[in-house]
């Protein structure tokens, strides 16, 4: 596949709708690429990107469903045993209901309270897992054609590489770390080596401007004052 194969219509950014809304772009005869309605395709891609930047709740859902299955199996077994007028492990399910209805009489305080608190905490945990946002350490990169999601570590190492190449430090003398809105680069020069901090900051800023991450990152370049001795 050579880049020369692109048709002029392909260079149009996917996000620009040409006023006509969800209609095909140019006529099907002139354009070999029958574009999906741009607005719709965009929304779909945005949805996929959002799925990639937030963590799935699948493990919690599986735990909750297994709990419900165990609960259903227990109630079902108890119902069958009661309907057959039998006892299970020497206990009549109807006697258990009796004890529950008579509560708190005849029950041990500590055991019931501990059990109730455990159930409530489990419920709170499920509730929070369902309600709170769960972001992954990833950023979105704007692109005309693709949905792009990049790990924060990749951004950090790219910024570190930019700072290092501007200062001519050793490959492992720049360390980057990325938060949600900040990007820190720490330079670790050998003792007595002068570092061009301004050049490094400019290089990191250039790199970030090129990347154009969402949410935007503010760079900060620092030089570790405690020097070190290189072999």
């Amino acid at each position: 596949m050579s880049p020369a194969g692109t048709s002029p219509a392909d260079t149009r950014p996917a996000s620009t709708s040409d006023g006509s809304g969800p209609g095909p772009g140019p006529g099907p005869g002139s354009d070999p690429v029958t574009a999906a309605p741009p607005a719709d395709a965009d929304r779909f891609l945005r949805r996929i990107v959002r799925r990639e930047t937030s963590a799935p709740r699948t493990p919690s859902v599986v735990v909750a469903m297994v709990l419900l299955l165990v609960l259903a199996a227990a109630v079902g077994t108890a119902a069958v045993v009661a309907l057959l007028d039998e006892r299970i492990a020497g206990v009549d399910p109807r006697a258990v209901v009796d004890a529950g209805v008579r509560a708190p009489d005849g029950l041990v305080d500590a055991v019931v309270i501990a059990g109730g608190a455990a159930i409530a905490l489990l419920g709170l945990w499920f509730l929070l897992r369902g309600v709170l946002p769960a972001r992954r350490p990833r950023h979105v990169i704007r692109s005309a054609r693709l949905g792009v999601v990049v790990d924060d570590e990749v951004l950090a190492s790219a910024a570190a590489r930019a700072a290092r190449s501007a200062t001519r430090l050793a490959p492992d003398a720049a360390v980057g770390s990325v938060g949600r809105r900040t990007l820190d680069v720490v330079l670790l020069p050998a003792s007595g080596v002068d570092v061009a901090v301004v050049a490094a900051t400019e290089a990191v800023e250039r790199e970030l401007a090129a990347v154009d991450a969402v949410p935007p990152l503010t760079p900060r370049v620092r030089v570790r004052s405690t020097g070190r001795i290189d072999g």
Binding site: V49, V62, L68, V75, A78, V97
Partner: protein, 193 residues
């Protein structure tokens, strides 16, 4: 990127969480507050009377059995909605009206191979995986690129964009494409400096 319905998962989590929270709090309150125990006694006599020893008939236990079966089936349905979504076909087309009869079907493997072959030679790419999945009743391509250490993400994006535009021209259709640039891979720096 898979077929999991995440909205369903979150709704189920919130519902189960609320029920468990209310249940646990109620148990603790009934055991500690006499007033709450009073309320519980009147409510339990009315609703759980049929389950007690010496109840007139067994219909209440039949209801309990039915409820348990329904609950179990619902839980299994939610579990079965998790995962899945791999697909073998990228697109199917019977061509323009009045053209030759027949269908064109493009397999996922063809697109996966084409993209792999075009992207692997890029100097920033350490390793690569391409798969085609069905998400929300649409076919989407996911490209996972492991870059070399310090590779500029924008260059990777631009080059993959070029490759995907070529694919668009080849297929005659714009597939939704997700590009994931992930950490790790080779610790060796970029082949080109």
């Amino acid at each position: 990127m898979n077929g999991t319905n995440r909205t369903l998962g979150r709704v189920v989590l919130v519902l189960v969480g609320l029920v468990f929270l209310a249940l646990g709090a109620a148990v603790v309150l009934v055991q500690t507050l006499p007033a709450a125990a009073e309320v519980w006694h009147t409510a339990a006599d009315r609703t759980l009377g049929g389950l007690r020893t010496g109840a007139a008939d067994t219909s209440a236990w039949w209801w309990a059995l039915g409820g348990a079966v329904v609950l179990g089936i619902l839980a299994l349905l939610v579990l079965s909605s998790i995962g899945g979504g791999r697909t073998g076909t990228v697109l199917e087309d019977d061509g323009p009206d009045g053209g030759l009869p027949g269908q064109v079907r493009i397999e996922a493997a063809a697109v996966e191979h084409a993209l792999s072959a075009a992207i692997t030679p890029l100097p920033q790419v350490a390793s690569l995986a391409v798969d085609v999945r069905r998400v929300r009743r649409r076919t989407a391509v996911r490209i996972v690129v492991r870059t070399r250490r310090g590779a500029p993400p924008r260059e990777v994006v631009d080059r993959v964009e070029d490759v995907v535009r070529d694919l668009d021209a080849l297929l005659g259709q714009r597939l939704p494409v997700l590009l994931r640039i992930v950490r790790g891979g080779s610790s060796r720096p970029d082949r080109v400096r």
